[in-house]
């Protein structure tokens, strides 16, 4: 057990960072180069002011008509994304690891808060799963890989919740928790999870087209 733990927090963790960062840089730069070669108009019409205007409207809860029409989805999406990012970075158990390994540390979340936030992520994933299974317009679009991605995202939080609450087999679950977190990071450059990096560009571009050429709002 201890060997496994050392392996997944040692060499495999390094591999994870390399794949995540290297893969993201590779995917991003290949798209950038392709865009420079083939999508000249994107650079021509991209406009910082209008791009930021659009991004801002879409990063504010209920900032767009689309969000107002789908209130449940809006609330869940915002809570989900906030908790998804904040929890792993500021949860006490993780900050300790940074302190032990690299001697750097920062603010930590109270355990109870981190626990609730973890629960929010898990509950949100259940909500997304429910949408995929029941709403016809989502069900029609859903592919097997959408379920896999949802599972990849939920797994670190389910296992983290398990470990924190010391449910049965939590020592073993700790290793699963580490692996699932690493799998999620490695999946980002190669799956739709990459949308986290593309959002500012897709939103920014349509915001620029609407603001600069169409002279209309896009929210």
């Amino acid at each position: 057990m201890h060997d496994l733990y050392s392996f997944f927090t040692g060499p495999f963790a390094w591999l994870t960072f390399i794949v995540f960062i290297g893969g993201s840089v590779w995917r991003f730069s290949s798209l950038w180069q392709l865009a420079q070669k083939k999508d000249g108009h994107v650079f021509e019409y991209m406009d910082t002011k209008f791009a930021l205007r659009s991004i801002a409207h879409w990063l504010v809860p209920f900032g767009s008509r689309s969000m107002k029409l789908n209130p449940a989805m809006t609330v869940v999406t915002f809570l989900f994304h906030i908790c998804l990012f904040i929890t792993p970075i500021f949860v006490f158990g993780h900050v300790i690891l940074w302190k032990e390994n690299f001697n750097i540390s920062w603010f930590t979340l109270p355990n109870a808060v981190a626990d609730v936030m973890t629960f929010i992520v898990i509950a949100s994933c259940i909500f997304f799963l429910w949408r995929r299974i029941t709403l016809p317009e989502v069900k029609y679009l859903t592919t097997p890989s959408d379920f896999v991605i949802l599972f990849i995202v939920a797994a670190p939080f389910i296992t983290g919740f398990w470990v924190y609450h010391q449910f049965a087999g939590s020592a073993f679950m700790t290793i699963i928790h580490i692996i699932s977190g690493e799998v999620m990071l490695m999946a980002i450059p190669f799956t739709k999870l990459f949308h986290m990096f593309l959002f500012p560009f897709t939103r920014g571009y349509i915001g620029s087209e609407f603001g600069g050429v169409r002279m209309a709002k896009d929210w």
Binding site: L34, D39, V42, R65, E137, L141, I206, D218
Partner: protein
């Protein structure tokens, strides 16, 4: 030509039996090899990261559905924007172009007749993915494969032969203008439709269907121009038609020829600016799509839509009216000039300057629903008419709501919208009258 559309649905798609010779004959000549090579050509030579990102980034959340009037009218996920991508480019990219002629047949129907390229969905997708762009790429592939609905292809042929959409011959064009001039002289003595005047302040261009079916619009425009003492002109030679069905079939080479001809026609006359009649798609072609294709970031000469021009006349107090139009009106915001050029506020100024009783339909401005006719869909003709009118159910609901609030007249400053709304009003017994701004202004104009 029969206007009926067989109601038998095929098992796996939202497409009813296809009764279009352009598509059916086109597909007959396809082989998997030809399809693959054309797709590779378009994908590798003509598209890049934008298409890739649009197809790959979609997280299948379904939020675009509420942005699409097809989905709202038919309540079928196959008609949601992302649903249409799934059935077209997503599969093509996944299979790297290895798709069957049958697939192309379905994809052509989806791209040409189940999307108005209205871009409303880009305002509902959190990522701002532009499905209209993806559908345009699909149309481009279909055009290169020779699988285009018959009726719209006929208008594209007309464009390539005559440089106008409606097979209007050069002499017929001038003859129509002279005929309208003569008619208008009964209302307005010494009225002229000045042809080929060099250095005029304003070059007036229209779409092919105006001389063909709605010649009275030219007469009305002439009366308004004369009433305000405009220094204007129209061209006597090709270049007078600003419309562009080639933009919608995917024939971009021909679209470029058309736009060049139109711009050059005005530039050769050293006109100060172009004012165009009340048409939406033509505006999109000169202001957004065609100029880009020719390498101009923005049009090479100032070009404004009739809404803008009429509004200017009122703002500058150049026009005198007898009294405001007093039947209660509502306003339909055409996609290509509101979502496409932000003219919705000017349109409202104009309504308030000309009408005494204005009732908004909801949603409006950028969020207005398309008439279901845009993007070349109405130009695909009778084989798709019933399906088109069915997809206008949400629009009908919106119109009826405005009617309940008292509106009796719908102002729609776009030809395609007129065609689409006319069918919707008729089919759903909406019982409202349709007008252009030109109709209203002509009616209330105080002639000197």
């Amino acid at each position: 030509m029969s206007e009926s559309n067989s109601a038998t649905e095929s098992k796996n798609s939202g497409i009813k039996k296809i009764d279009d010779q352009g598509i059916l004959k086109g597909v007959e000549g396809l082989t998997p090899e030809k399809i693959e090579s054309v797709i590779q050509q378009v994908i590798t030579n003509e598209t890049g990261a934008r298409l890739k990102v649009y197809v790959d980034t979609c997280v299948h959340c379904g939020l675009c559905s509420k942005g699409c009037h097809y989905y709202l009218s038919l309540n079928d996920p196959k008609f949601s924007p992302a649903g249409k991508v799934k059935q077209t480019l997503a599969e093509i990219m996944q299979k790297k172009g290895k798709v069957s002629p049958e697939f192309i047949k379905q994809a052509a129907v989806i791209a040409y007749t189940q999307c108005n390229l209205c871009k409303r969905c880009a305002m509902y997708c959190p990522f701002g993915l532009d499905v209209a762009y993806v559908m345009s790429v699909m149309r481009r592939i279909c055009h290169k494969l020779g699988v285009v609905p018959l009726y719209i292809q006929d208008t594209a042929h007309s464009h390539s032969v005559t440089m106008n959409q409606m097979w209007v011959k050069d002499d017929e064009w001038v003859d129509t203008l002279m005929w309208q001039e003569e008619e208008a002289q009964e209302a307005f003595e010494n009225l002229r439709i000045p042809l080929d005047i060099e250095g005029a302040d304003l070059f007036y261009s229209v779409i092919g269907p105006e001389p063909k079916f709605r010649a009275q619009l030219i007469f009305q425009a002439a009366v308004i121009m004369n009433a305000v003492g405009e220094n204007w002109t129209m061209p006597s030679m090709p270049g007078w038609d600003n419309s562009d069905m080639c933009m919608f079939t995917g024939d971009y080479e021909m679209m470029e020829r058309l736009k060049r001809c139109h711009f050059e026609s005005a530039l050769n006359l050293r006109a100060k600016r172009i004012v165009m009649g009340e048409c939406g798609h033509a505006f999109r072609s000169v202001y957004d799509v065609g100029n880009r294709a020719l390498g101009w970031r923005m049009p090479p000469i100032e070009i404004i839509h009739a809404i803008d021009y009429f509004n200017e006349l009122f703002e500058q107090n150049r026009i005198k009216i007898k009294k405001k139009f007093d039947t209660p009106v509502t306003l339909h915001d055409p996609c290509n000039v509101s979502r496409g050029r932000g003219l919705h506020d000017k349109a409202r100024n104009l309504v308030n300057a000309t009408c005494s009783n204005f009732i908004e339909m909801v949603p409006n401005r950028e969020h207005n629903y398309c008439c279901s006719a845009g993007g070349g869909v109405i130009n695909c003709g009778p084989p798709f008419k019933n399906a088109r009118v069915e997809s206008g159910k949400e629009k009908a609901r919106q119109l009826l709501e405005a009617k309940e609030k008292g509106a009796k007249v719908v102002i729609a400053p776009c030809h395609n919208c007129h065609g689409g709304l006319e069918d919707i009003i008729h089919h759903y017994n909406v019982g409202m009258e349709l007008k252009f701004f030109g109709d209203i202004i002509y009616e209330i104009l105080d002639l000197p």
